[in-house]
């Protein structure tokens, strides 16, 4: 294994992606964009996991298997999240996060 | 959830509206909630033009009404004129009319079949039907000199006698037709995809059909046995033996298949007419300059699209005072808006196709 690319590069990338996702998740008004940003964050996590897999446990495949589970969970999460948004927007004429301050609908 | 409704224009320039017909659809998702048909893009003012034409000159214009069944349109007009003038048409002429009229009916039904096949996406069926229609076109061209707009009939008879070789050709075609129909049945009618698309789509009940004054194959597809050729025979139809095919469900498939069945019946009639074809004159004695007495007449024939009625008012001059056509497609189309409600866009095309409209006739 060469020394050209070490995990730091990937972790740096993943951190940047995570930060961007975090920024999006916090600063967006539209719920869907918040969801998208969360996807970005999950993606960042995946990069991390796969990087660890490659550099730390290449034969145990822990990282990759975890990544697969995360992808599964993310898919389920997006599906449910979007369904929720659709359900909400059906009742309230909004998809602006700040307007969703009621507890009951 | 309340989905936003979407307005969609089907037509005027649209590949499957059979011309320049326009329907404004209000869609909810893909389901039609409201339909608003806008005809009139081909309104040529024929009825008005005809007021300035002499009686024989009216004839070529009738061709341009239902241009898929020009001869039948001719026939409707000459029928009305003969009623107005009390003319007796010679036997031979009547027989020729029947032969040509039924050939034209087959041609028209072939186009309907073809167009319907094309509408649901089967382009090969389209071409096959047109291929066989060419034979009829040849025959029509042979007798009249034009393929689509023959202007062949004349008040009191027909323009010219059947040319040499016509009878053999016609006989040959009649013998060939069953093979062709079998082919259509194999390719189009029997196809499961086609059946799934058309069966149980937009059924019209018999009662509704009568109330909406539908006529022709659309009416009979709903199970109403009303064919002018049987119900009130005009010309010499009472001498022929034929059945009136009837549908049972009145859905798109029945409307389509009925036309295929009617082709066979028409072939039967032609065969009998060919056998019985008498010799004799082909024209009644009509004055050179036609000047009917003051009066009016209304006559109907069963055209390929339904009942074609012609109403002529004469003021005693050489030109009609008023001519009005009862155009079957136009009246059948009256039920369209209501019928397509609740069906999907794809069905709209199938339903419109099963109506077999001709815009020349709808817009007149």
């Amino acid at each position: 294994m060469g020394t050209g690319l070490n995990p730091s590069y990937f972790i740096g990338l993943s951190a940047a992606l995570f930060a961007i996702g975090m920024y999006g998740a916090l600063s967006k008004k539209n719920i869907i964009s918040v969801l998208i940003s969360i996807e970005l964050m999950l993606c960042a996590v995946n990069i991390n996991l796969v990087a660890f897999n490659k550099f730390l446990t290449p034969d145990a495949f822990l990282g990759q298997i975890f990544a697969i589970f995360i992808i599964t969970v993310a898919a389920a999460e997006v599906g449910l999240g979007l369904a929720l948004i659709i359900a909400i927007s059906r009742r309230r004429e909004t998809n602006n996060l700040d307007d969703l301050d009621w507890l009951r609908w | 959830m309340k989905t936003q409704e979407m307005l969609i224009n089907v037509g005027p320039q649209h590949p499957s509206t059979h011309g320049v017909f326009r329907v404004v659809l209000t869609l909810d998702g893909e389901t039609v909630v409201k339909a608003n048909s806008v005809p009139g893009y081909l309104h040529r003012g024929i009825e008005k033009i005809l007021e300035s034409r002499t009686y024989p000159q009216v004839l070529p214009y009738t061709d341009r009404l239902d241009y898929l069944a020009g001869l039948l349109m001719n026939w409707g007009y000459v029928n009305a004129m003969e009623e107005l003038m009390d003319t007796e048409v010679p036997e031979r002429a009547e027989h020729i009319r029947v032969i040509m009229g039924e050939l034209q009916r087959i041609a028209s039904h072939l186009v309907a079949t073809a167009a319907y096949s094309g509408d649901v996406g089967g382009l090969t069926g389209f071409i096959y039907c047109f291929r066989d229609r060419e034979d009829i076109m040849d025959m029509i061209e042979m007798v009249s000199g034009a393929r689509l707009t023959p202007s062949y009939m004349r008040i009191g008879g027909v323009a010219a006698d059947l040319p040499d070789g016509f009878l053999e050709k016609c006989q040959k075609f009649i013998d060939y037709l069953p093979t062709a129909i079998e082919e259509y049945n194999g390719l189009i009618t029997g196809n499961e995809i086609f059946q799934h698309r058309t069966k149980k789509v937009a059924p019209i009940t018999a009662e509704r059909a009568i109330n909406m004054s539908l006529s022709g194959p659309i009416l009979r597809a709903s199970g109403v046995n009303y064919d002018l050729r049987k119900a009130r025979p005009y010309s010499i139809y009472d001498r022929f033996e034929f059945d009136v095919p009837l549908g049972s469900n009145g859905d798109c498939f029945d409307r389509f298949y009925l036309r295929v069945l009617e082709m066979t019946e028409s072939a039967r009639i032609i065969r009998q007419a060919l056998d019985k074809l008498p010799d004799g004159p082909i024209n009644a004695k009509v004055p050179k300059i036609i000047k009917p007495a003051v009066g009016e007449a209304y006559a109907e024939i069963e055209s390929s699209k339904g009942i074609m009625g012609v109403y002529v008012v004469s003021d005693g001059s050489t030109k009609p005072y008023r001519i009005h056509f009862r155009r079957p497609s136009f009246i059948n189309l009256g039920h369209f808006d209501e019928l397509i409600q609740g069906w999907k866009i794809a069905d709209v095309i199938a339903i419109l196709g099963s109506f077999d409209i001709v815009l020349g006739e709808v817009d007149c």
Binding site: I68, I71, T72, A75, A76, V78, G79, L82, A83, I86 | M1, T3, Q4, E5, M6, L7, N9, V10, G11, P12, Q13, H14, R22, V24, L27, D28, G29, E30, T31
Partner: protein
Amino acid sequence: MSEWVGVALFIVAGLAFGIVGIGVSFLVHPRSKNRYKLETYECGIPAEGSAWGRFRTQYFTFALIFVIFDVEVIYLFPWAVSFVQLGLAGLIKMFIFIFILVLGLWYAWKEGALEWK
């Protein structure tokens, strides 16, 4: 690694192909302006209403079911590849897995989510 460089090359080339095609066309094609050319086409009459209608949920429903099954397939492929190695145990585990998902499909079917409205 280098094999992936090849894939990248192919992708870039596919893109370049498109760009060159459109670019050449832009150079040689004639152009003119008139009243209606840039208007939205709507069967030859002025466009009515907006194209931005909202749609029925069916589109979303199908996409959702697709994603779920897509994810299922992720598991199926590795299983299929090492089927021999996994033997009966693997077979049974996978059948349970698929069975649970088929339950979901069955539910969707029953709920009418598979109908296109």
